[in-house]
Symmetry: C2
Subunit: 350 residues, 2 copies
Amino acid sequence: MIESPSAERRHPTILDVASHAGVSKSTVSNVVRGLPGVSESTRRRVRTAIDQLGYRPNVLARQLVQRRTSILGVVVGDLANPFFAEMAKSVERHAAARGYTAMFCNTEGESESELAGVETLLQHRVAGIVFLAFSGDARTKQAVLQHQVPVVFVSCGADWGDVVSVDDSRGGRLGTTHLVESGHRRVAYLSIPELEDQSDHARWEGCREALNDAGLGAPTHISWSPPAEYARVDGLDRPLLEVFTGPDRTTAVFASNDVAAIALQEFADRVGYRVPEDISIVGFDDVPMAGLARIGLTTLAQPRDELARLGIAGVADRIERKVKGPPRTTLVKVNLVTRRSTARLETDPS
Amino acid sequence: MIESPSAERRHPTILDVASHAGVSKSTVSNVVRGLPGVSESTRRRVRTAIDQLGYRPNVLARQLVQRRTSILGVVVGDLANPFFAEMAKSVERHAAARGYTAMFCNTEGESESELAGVETLLQHRVAGIVFLAFSGDARTKQAVLQHQVPVVFVSCGADWGDVVSVDDSRGGRLGTTHLVESGHRRVAYLSIPELEDQSDHARWEGCREALNDAGLGAPTHISWSPPAEYARVDGLDRPLLEVFTGPDRTTAVFASNDVAAIALQEFADRVGYRVPEDISIVGFDDVPMAGLARIGLTTLAQPRDELARLGIAGVADRIERKVKGPPRTTLVKVNLVTRRSTARLETDPS
DNA sequence: ATGAAAGCGCTAACAG
DNA sequence: CTGTTAGCGCTTTCAT
């Protein structure tokens, strides 16, 4: 079967450019890479040939011979979560600024897809991996370590790579202290199952410590998948509503992130509980939505762009061998932003 | 300078596996690719060697020889916009399901970074490109066409590639008609400069037509960058507030997307204008946030996952040569979701 | 059923 | 300053 010559025109290669310009391929390569030591006249001839043919260097081939790519793998928990979306955007921008291209994989919090995603990234020989969320899965860890690729955990954590994050446990304490100082005595810690990782745990610890320091009991632990009616409360499946009713009712909730906090606020709105009169709510992240007048969520702000910047700078330095040695941890500051969702607890008529 | 042998251990190659298993590299290749015609015993030996060495095929090398990658480029307008974030997530998932890996680039609505991003994608020899937003830039178009790579515009448009989107102009009419039927006579169309593309234009047209059909004047065109006090109103820079004051005041706004709509609602909240009593607002997209009780935005819902699915199926079919020929357009349905942000216009005491 | 050999498009010494 | 040569790690005929 004979194909018409124009039917499947392939991309011009460096050789096409070379013969078109009447030089060798090395010369073309030198021009493309902007190396010095090429006469101005040949440089021009090569440039012309490149434009005429619409030549675009094949990054694959280049990276194959150089044995390293300029692709950065980015593991995201859930792109639909505004916090991750913002982080992803920042990460992409800073990566591009340093000459890297981002390859994302969304894990939905499932360690299966996390593993599959990382496996794909590794097969693509990414230069480094940025975890914006990490399940803690040992297989993922093993795969990455075995492959010896630089890794950074941004706003999440693990002990086998650089970490750039806020002091989550401090954040947990700050938020809880704010609640305690507002007169709350029974505080619950709320998290969403899909996102329960090391950061989540540290926030919980901070919450627990602050309560403990105040001489109060441990927080009730709620694990809830919005918009379900039921939740796992201190290990038992119960109607979520029950937590906020009765004499021992919880009057304040510390959510492990804004999305959970806003979901809870929505739940309260729907069942007719008032925020903050009936329940005070504190979130974590300070997503843009939290600042809307209608939402007004008290929350712990993470400096997203700084996290992304430092994270990228970190992996890039590892990739480029500017930094060696054991994993480092960089902590950035976390800030309490007080809004309408929290208020002083009015003393009960009891 | 002599490097200690273990210092820079390179990734095992197919040759390492071959010698380790005592077979040729072709055989290893056949095993890796799951081809038939390999005896069960050698297959096992190869598998063992692969596991022992932690061998991972180098996708770059494979794709270099096959002259095609399994990477899909995705051009996103603004990942921080929940609509795009949701779309990006869906696109990534459907791509992965069909064996493609997504490589994103965020354009911030700037055609410069769009061009740079597409250029990078092309150099990486992506198998196809999914535009989730397209500025209309002619250089981008030229670069892509010259490279002959399959392209699909999802929820945006251009005439030089497949399109999968809702009928934007119909959406524009639906939303506007809803406003007109609620008694509004002076309607404005609001858009955000960064996102003014073909879809935006079609929505505007739909709005204009509906108003025209109702015997009303053309919509006031507002181009606003939240949270500025000023906006470009029918081509003139004016305080945004003025649009909603005076005898000829606008009583309803059709925003080209939910983010703009919510920003306007926020603006109204801050200056003490009530929604919907003073201004009715309609958005476009139906982002998750729009459904919150506290936001309650009337909007036009786009079937995000279906858009993503059809879009990916479309490019994939082109890539895999299952479909040839001129660009096709697939329209999916758009639905009006009525919420609290729109209401009947109470007749003025005039 | 398995192996040998020829590239894919490029970079990186090294010659000239 | 420019050209030659040898791979990078893999797939793909074509032999055996």
